[in-house]
Amino acid sequence: MISAGNDIVALKAINITRTKQQNFYRKIITETEKALYDKPFSEGLPFEQFVWLLWTIKESVYKYLQRINPGLIFSPTKIVIGQLDPPSNNTISIFESRGFNDPKVYKGTAEFGAHILYSRSIITEDFIFSVVNHINGFERVMWGIKLIDSSEPDRQSDAVRVFAIAMLSSLFPDAELEIGKSVYGYPVLLKNGDETPVPISLAHHDRYVAYSFQM
């Protein structure tokens, strides 16, 4: 089933000291995953960013699968990142796009039970953003990242919806669009008041908001 899952972590809002503590990061990554950090790709990537990179992938996987299985519980250590390939360099200047033609993204594979999902991640000095898909191609995935003026939860929620609707409106120019919530809590796109099959995922942390959806 086609779904959507993304996540963003604002690096200025994380606790670097705490993230490096074993009792903290062991709640997020497994020993096997920690071994990924020892591979050459991690050169220059601070450990705390590695931990939050894996977090964003895992949270994206959870969001993707929760739409398929609404009773799913987010359990970070049960989602296993098996592969993570680094970009040649990490200078990203595009923050809203279809797919990931830019090679400067991390590419990964995540497993949860029988599910295998593929990830693309962007790391800047300000944030880590990840999005996942059920196939290793993202041509149908639209995504966007935006800095907003507030970290207040209601403002984040409003801002990410306005941001996503702006992109969606360019694809449905004559429709009245709205992003609502399913009874299970995941976002749904409403077109002229009716729920559409377009899967959409929203994320926010501190002053960053992000969306992804499939078209």
Binding site: V9, N15, W55, F74, S75, P153
Partner: protein, 84 residues
């Protein structure tokens, strides 16, 4: 420690991670950490670590998975305290 005492301590654990102080004051078993208290999921691990320190307990992965609302947090914390 009674459930009410555990709840009062839990409020202190949660307080740094929610701006919804009014709702925090009146939380009950059904209060959802993310939906109601607007706690960012990135802070859920902080709450588990802080609860471990506050109650001098260890919360394993399966127990941590259950800590979605206030009632399940109290159940897990009480269970771990009783196991000490």
């Amino acid at each position: 420690m009674t459930r009410e005492e555990t709840l009062n301590e839990l409020k202190k654990v949660i307080a740094p991670y929610t701006v919804n102080k009014e709702m925090l004051a009146g939380i009950n078993d059904q209060t959802d950490l993310i939906r109601d208290l607007k706690i960012n999921s990135a802070n859920l691990v902080d709450i588990i670590i802080d609860a471990e320190a506050k109650y001098d307990i260890e919360i394993d992965y399966d127990s941590a998975d259950k800590m979605i609302n206030v009632g399940s947090c109290l159940d897990v914390i009480t269970e771990k305290i009783n196991q000490k």
